[in-house]
Subunit: 436 residues, 2 copies
């Protein structure tokens, strides 16, 4: 069992005993001695630590395994997603940061501080190795999932900065420009990404912040996005969550117990790409920031909303009848045409119209304030894990963009594709197989 | 007991039975008949409704009372705050919207839909009167708190649009420009505000969205802000939450059980302002969006961080010793000066240095993505309720701005002041005393 640190000081002695540097001295890094009085303890009382990383605490997931956590893991309530550009030219520095990220990610997922000293112990004259806002918060089912963007292999000028170009997966190309894309470059792409999901947003934010801090000088945050409500579930039998159109979303999602489907549609297989053996057991993550014109949507009649989607708004059943999980009957005719309209969202993205492809969705609702026009800057931050973006994601996105009646109410403002390495084995660092 | 609506359709008949308008017909508002099949029911199963508005459900608060909810109410985890400009010139339309808001707020706080029809029943040819994303979610301790800005009484051109100028509270002036203010006008001020607090952000967002929708044509959203983590508690004995500097925040907060302190420092009294008798039992809400330079902060030594604040980072005790709730000893001398530094935050905002004033804080942590420089756009969305902003808030803010060592790490990007009317009596609308 890991040693649980002693709780924080409950009663502090006065601090200015001559042992303590003045702030000025502390700021210039000089003078003063270590003041240990009352500062035993590190991360906080209340921040639980599991006995081990494969323990029984249902709020702790394991960083290590065949696949990364945060993909099939039961979808947590909140998201902080961050994309980074690598600023160093040194492969060694990049690898060293991945080693540090691995250690920190393992600690953070256990509800521990980002570094071994923690937010409140250690030398007064140095910054703590954790920022402190998660003191007292439980692990909150935090998962951290790491991905590599095209720029890690070949930068915008075609330079192979890290000697990785010949290991670039053939499918890891920046996503094409789709119809209705109005992308903000400051919300798109990135050399690396981290998806932090947790039931407490403060825990997710704390993780991203501390990983960004560890990466300072090696990476720079390019963009980041908070999501407040999950829009997909990977858990069989769980109530399907709703997006900001008010509809159940991700009814057809692949669930964690569908092993064969996961192998077919999510995990990169051993024969998929001879140049990217390091990616076997990993996946591709397609990211789309989808603004919804919700004020306009809200003025559409209920019948129109349902026909845009192809499902009822209440129960989520296909318009052809049944219950939420009934298969739509695309051939059923009504008095004015197909009951499932030709341009309905469900029809266009259904596996039967996409060569049998399914995807694993982990999207989140977002609201980032409001626009100058007085509309909410709101929508769906779409995250989908697929084995083959060229076959599973790009055709579906094109079909949607060209034909989907719902497109009138969408604006795509961010876009990215990442290769998500397989799980990390104990003693290894994240993505190690790429570098060895 | 209120009638609980029947749950949503679990099994739907096929919809296209000739009763249903085509989408085209629906969009132009013509053709087709009502299709009632399988559409009994309104708001969702799982969306609980209390027996009555003063019932025993701990997740339902009452809109009605002496004071508005959301002030002393135990602070919920999440926030959506919105400010609106009034676009109508008609006092009648403004009053009518307040009536509608009152009805909707009462429903929403009970976990019900925004309107009586709900998101999924009613005429297919008309938009639902609720947007639907909260179907199935519990009331989540939602509170809705309404405020009136200076512009409601006299607009920017000095025009008295609604015949309210002579009832404007003398203290309801736009906040002055403080040192270190770098205000974004699109994040400042507003004629009206709504503070939505709930334990589920989707419930808070749903409330603001539906109230904005009801107000369409009468008000336009000017700005809005999500907060993901509370930074203050109004509940005695509750763990003090932490801000993004990693410190406990609001240790000195007024709590809900301090009736005398609330009367002295929060609620407007009967003799406070002869022109604003309508505000008796209400309060003033000072709003400040405070960006934190957290990446720079994180590089400061622990000792420096603690001296900026005047408290320990772990337990939150004053540097003069004791426990979190011990009174600081501002006279205690150390070897290099006062143990509680002259420019420490706690010293500058302490009641003993502010004429005995206390404030009631309900602030939230926010992260709105990241900046072009790669820093998190993050900080504290400060909300404080005071009886007298001129005496309680402005001097404290000036003392902070001029002398507080912490100011180096802060940038004020939004600012507003609202008069918050007293509680609404049953049968009245929010703020009714102002209009009658």
């Amino acid at each position: 069992m890991r040693a649980r640190r002693t709780p924080d000081d409950e009663t502090d002695e006065p601090r200015s005993t001559g042992l303590r540097p003045s702030r000025r001295a502390a700021l210039v890094g000089g003078g003063g001695l270590l003041a240990g009085v009352g500062l035993a303890g590190g991360f906080a009382a209340g921040r639980a630590v599991a006995d081990d990383s494969t323990g029984d605490d249902p709020t702790v997931f394991d960083l290590h395994g065949t696949h990364q956590p945060g993909i099939v893991t039961p979808v947590q309530d909140r998201l902080h997603f961050a994309a980074f550009d690598v600023t160093t030219e040194s492969r060694d520095e990049l690898v060293e940061m991945l080693r540090e990220w691995t250690k920190a990610a393992d600690r953070l997922m256990h509800g521990d501080s980002a570094g071994p000293i923690g937010p409140t112990s250690g030398d007064y004259r140095t910054p703590p190795d954790d920022t402190g806002e998660a003191i007292g918060l439980p692990p909150s089912r935090l998962t951290l999932t790491f991905g590599f963007g095209p720029g890690l292999f070949t930068d915008a000028d075609g330079v192979d900065r890290f000697g990785l170009a010949d290991r670039r997966p053939a499918l890891l190309e920046p996503l094409p420009h789709f119809p209705e894309d109005a992308l903000d470059p400051e919300r798109s792409n990135g050399d690396l990404c981290i998806q932090a999901c947790a039931d407490d947003p403060q825990v997710a934010v704390h993780a991203i912040r501390n990983l960004a801090r560890i990466g300072f000088g090696t990476v720079r945050m390019r963009w980041s996005q908070l999501g407040f409500g999950k829009t997909s579930s990977t858990t069989t039998g769980e109530e399907t969550p709703r997006n900001l159109f008010g509809f159940k979303d991700g009814t057809m999602n692949i669930t964690a117990d569908e092993d064969a489907e996961l192998d077919e549609h999510v995990w990169v297989g051993p024969d998929d790409d001879p140049d990217a053996g390091w990616l076997v057991g990993g996946s591709y993550l397609a990211v789309r920031r989808i603004n919804m014109r919700i004020e306009t949507w809200d003025r559409q009649p209920l019948g129109a909303q349902e026909e845009f989607i192809g499902r009822t708004k209440g129960g989520g059943a296909p318009l052809s009848g049944g219950t939420e999980h009934s298969q739509p009957d695309f051939d059923m005719k009504g008095s004015t045409g197909p009951v499932m309209p030709e341009d309905s969202h469900v029809r266009l993205v259904h596996p039967s119209h996409n060569g049998g492809s399914r995807i694993l969705r982990r999207g989140y609702n977002f609201v980032d304030g409001s626009t100058a026009l007085g509309d909410l800057d709101a929508g769906l931050f779409f995250l989908a894990y697929v084995r083959d973006p060229d076959r599973q994601f790009i055709p579906m996105q094109n079909a949607m963009a060209k034909n989907d009646a719902m497109m009138e109410y969408l604006k795509f403002t961010g876009s990215a594709l990442f290769a998500v390495p397989p799980g990390t084995r104990k003693g290894e660092y994240i993505g190690q197989a790429l570098f060895t």
